[in-house]
Symmetry: C4
Subunit: 373 residues, 4 copies
């Protein structure tokens, strides 16, 4: 299922074409697509490309150190592997391969509520696991997931708050996307298989399932309720408005992830590179910076990571590129992607005169006009 | 006359191609075209695509309510069907089909002065009718139209103020556009048929007729004169300058429509998404917000409606997309368009964390540069 | 030599293709080209297209009046025909045809120092003549030209100050452009014919001639010297910096023309639509608005004229489009261009709610980003 | 090895295609390429094209003088030839040809640490030599290079500070670029030849060598150490952050070069035309303008030089275009490039009303949007 690598990939971005070549069109579209007209999908990239960095010089970068502390853990990179559903769509080893690669790279791996691999198998890897929580309609199911995550040794709960319903991903709807029988949400097995696997003309079966399963009435009160029922730090993923970041901090969140779900939810939502500095500034001005700010959506290489650090992020979640690696080469592909990402970040930090991630946070940036891209 | 829908439309915008496929080139150009070089036609879309929304999260959106009050009426959507002339050009059922669909969707239907269907037939539908008034050269004719509208049960008068002459729509002029015999302005039947149906090389017969029929000397004094002669609320359509909005409010208008006539009048006029917030702010700063602000020009889906609500509009008028539906499928096509629009708005409100239209007015926006589109 | 007009031109811009079809490539390039990489040539258009107007409504535009007063003369339009050299390149009737058309349209005609038609022939038309003065190396020749202009009845002297040397127009240089024997600068006949007609590989013979003939050491002192030697009002053409506009006013100029010579001199010079408001504001803030501000470079239709009036210009000089008309149809072509320009301006004023040019000066403008074009 | 010039080049930029035609693909890519996705390479050009100049008029430009004083020397142009490694890759005469051409043009020639021609041969030309210093891992080697430069008569040391490691130039890596046996870093001959000549799949041998040879731990302390060991003025090349410019001044630098290494180091680094004015302003505001500001990266002609002077640069370093000339025609090609550059600058100064470089520094500029390019 993995293609022979005829020429070595030199950059994280090189894996995109490799993945496209090995995946069937439906899986590719499901991975690559965004919501509606894909404006936010494109805007995420455009805005990242518009950030110009002002590097420093004559710093000693001979022992450049990419390690970073976030959520009170020291990691090899200011990076976490983002939660992605149904990873066995992309490789038979699915989540297990990705988690092993994350462990090898020294970064956390966020398990999706829609994992297609049982938690026990992931707990058996060396990975630092975080658990991503979609809020199901039944609160007891929510608590059951939290307990399962705790038992599997998860170190954090990532509560995704931007999917009251699934975004309208027209590629999937036009292709009547449905999961193959071999891939299913193993944590939800009582309820989910029929819906997510049942092809419906003009609709994504995964979206149909999601709308049936996820709650549309979660509020900050629910987050505080959860806060009282687990010791795990809470990460609120999907925040774009600074007021929501403040509410997250006030609700006891240890971190927020500035995210538009990779352009897959509200089409027209602000790109994260524009939203990030406003969230950082607001939390900072309130003295609420004990609530850390992470970010995702659109990251394709180490230069993007450095730019987002300069804009104030503590760490960056990596989604699609990890799956490119998974599709192209299973665990080895994932390792390769993370190795390249680390090397690119290390290289960019050297060229930007940043011996440590701390200096990266101090880099000046300029926003370019379109012509500079 | 309607094409079979080989694959179901998933978005309002899908109807554009359907309409194009069933319409003859001249009718399509008349519908789709703008004035002169069509700069404003394009700018309307570009500026809407440039608005990025900052969604909120963890609001209970399980009972998301798209209904809105404008002109003192509660409607199912913050939407009205815009006045469009000669709708029987696009489907034999013309205005009647569109009005019925509006009634089904629970939104007002604005009848054009240039309706090709008699008012009595439209009054026989369940639609909430508004009447759009072009100011004819003869004041008695103006009053006659107003009385006819009142008798037909119209709930508002929409006075279009941006057509002292018709914009130079070069597609029509180059194609020597003229109305077919079967389609005519039934409210103007004494005067109009000959001119609007007489093909003239290098000219649009409709423009020739319009220039002959419409007054070029209407002023705010005329509006105040009208104000004293009807109980119906007056909506001034075609306002772009904040000073004119103030004049409208002072002249007793219940609302203005920020509009550049869909890019069909002054080519080079400001796109409405840029003009709208300035008008809203001016009226607000004068405490004149009893004069409501509606908007049109360029709206192609529910995401656009949400963006315009965020920029301060109370409601949005939908023009061309309604006609796409009419051309593609008569009343059913119109219903389909309005259903999709409502679904798209409902979906976008859920993803933006807006349980009601009131919250939509509070969303933050950011204006992107071009590269983000 | 004139092409049959197979379909009537509906806009000034339609004449561009007509002219291109009848002209040989070398003459076309000489007319259409700009300096070096033609950045300013393109920027002039891009910046005009970026101006959005905010029209007014409910003004009585039934008697819309395009006439304007500039240089103390009432003209039918706020327009003058710009000086263009060697007009017999484009039509055997050359300057005479253009001057007659200007007279018919009621606008001034600016005769170039490099006219290919004798002044006497132009004085025999009904045109209001202005004389454009290139500053020759020999001051006596300059005075001789001024006297000749006075004798021919010129009403103003337009001193072009942006050609100390001719811009490097690479189209002409690569094509080794030279004048045909039949076309020559009749006012300079002693010195010029050999140079401007002698083909030189990799050079424009006209540029060679110009550099030989024109002074590179003219200063404001020379302008004041001239001011004392003629009663004619002086118009300083080629001003872009507000400080130079002030110097012009202090030197006794009756007007400046904000111009980059249609993108034919300094490539990279600021587009005139950007420079204009700054010049207007500076003169206004100094109470020096007795010095009028005209503008040219990039104007292609009535909408452009209206936009430039809104930015503060008293009048606009029309260059290339007039020559399109000349090439396409001699005097009739020129008349047609000016008629269309007047009609377009009249139409745009009606749609913008401007009964007179005075109201046009009060229109609000907004500068769009690129995507709006 | 040089191509026949079938038509004379009229602009510096014309040499690009000539060079491309005579060079093998690997050498061309090495010369033309930038780091990673080449964003900064493109941004350098885009930002230069976005600078609009506001020319002055009626200055006497008959004796326009392009000479400039920088680093306390009067030169014929405000230009220096930038250091470029391994120039014998492009022509058998390599650095010697280029240095002779610089001498003929009256501008300094900066010898690269990676020169492929011995210093003695360059000292034998009439060129004013500056020596570019890469900081090698062994401080004794650094001092040895400095002494060699002093003995060869160099007038300045240009310390390049933006290459702690070589940027990832993917064209070279994908092509497994390595130096041919005939070209080597003659000043480093003990250590370098094996590495830079050894082809390695997926890597640039030159990058491998550079990383092995250059120090990654140079700091401002090293610069001060060097400052005490030579009388030569120090020029710090590769500064983009104003704080680093201040540090350079405080460390005794006579000048900084605002540079992103032609887009070859940190991809995503700010274009120099954006960074330059901020550096100039900072040094000026600190009264540190005894430290001069030079600039490079993206310059392709005299208009660019004038724009950078207007943005505050004392002089401009010319890199790739000089090599275009070298490849196309050896010393004659280099001379031709410098002659054209001088002519273009002279011409642009005339058209901008700048009799001297001092006036060029006073020109106003405006930053255009993309559409103006």
């Amino acid at each position: 299922m993995t293609a022979p690598l005829v020429s070595a990939p030199l950059a994280v971005a090189d894996f995109e074409e490799r993945a496209r070549n090995v995946l069937d069109a439906a899986s590719w579209d499901w991975l690559a697509g965004g919501a509606e007209r894909e404006r936010t999908l494109r805007a995420n990239r455009a805005e990242l490309d518009r950030i110009a960095l002002v590097p420093r010089v004559l710093a000693d970068v001979s022992a450049c150190d990419t390690s970073a502390t976030f959520l009170a853990r020291r990691c090899a990179l200011p990076v976490s592997v983002a939660p992605v559903a149904y990873q066995r769509l992309f490789h038979p080893e699915g989540e297990r391969a990705a988690a092993r690669a994350a462990a090898a790279a020294g970064v956390p791996y966020v398990v999706s509520t829609l994992t297609s691999t049982p938690l026990a198998e992931l707990a058996a890897t060396d990975a630092e696991l975080w658990f991503q929580l979609y809020w199901l309609k039944d609160r007891n199911q929510v608590l059951r997931l939290v307990r399962a995550a705790e038992e599997a040794g998860a170190r954090a709960l990532v509560v995704t708050v931007d999917v009251p319903v699934m975004g309208r991903r027209l590629r999937d709807a036009r292709g009547s996307f449905a999961l193959p029988p071999s891939v299913r949400a193993v944590l939800l097995d009582e309820s989910s298989p029929p819906l997510a696997h049942r092809r419906a003309p003009g609709a994504s079966a995964v979206a149909v399932h999601t709308s049936a399963a996820f709650s549309q009435s979660v509020t900050w009160a629910d987050l505080r309720w959860l806060r009282q029922r687990t010791e795990l730090p809470l990460v609120v993923k999907g925040v774009l408005d600074p007021d929501d970041a403040v509410l997250a901090a006030e609700s006891g969140a240890a971190a927020v992830v500035v995210s538009n779900h990779g352009g897959r939810q509200l089409d027209g939502a602000v790109p994260t590179a524009l939203a990030l500095p406003r969230v950082v500034e607001r939390l900072g001005s309130l003295g609420a910076d004990q609530c850390e700010v992470l970010v995702d959506s659109g990251v394709r290489g180490g230069a993007d990571v450095l730019a987002l650090l300069a804009l104030g992020a503590r760490a960056v979640l990596l989604g699609r590129p990890m799956i490119w690696g998974l599709a192209a080469g299973g665990e080895q592909g994932c390792r390769h992607v993370l190795d390249l990402l680390g090397a690119e970040l290390h290289h960019a930090m050297q060229l930007a005169g940043c011996p440590t991630v701390g200096e990266a946070h101090c880099l000046r940036t300029t926003r370019l006009c379109e012509g500079n891209l």
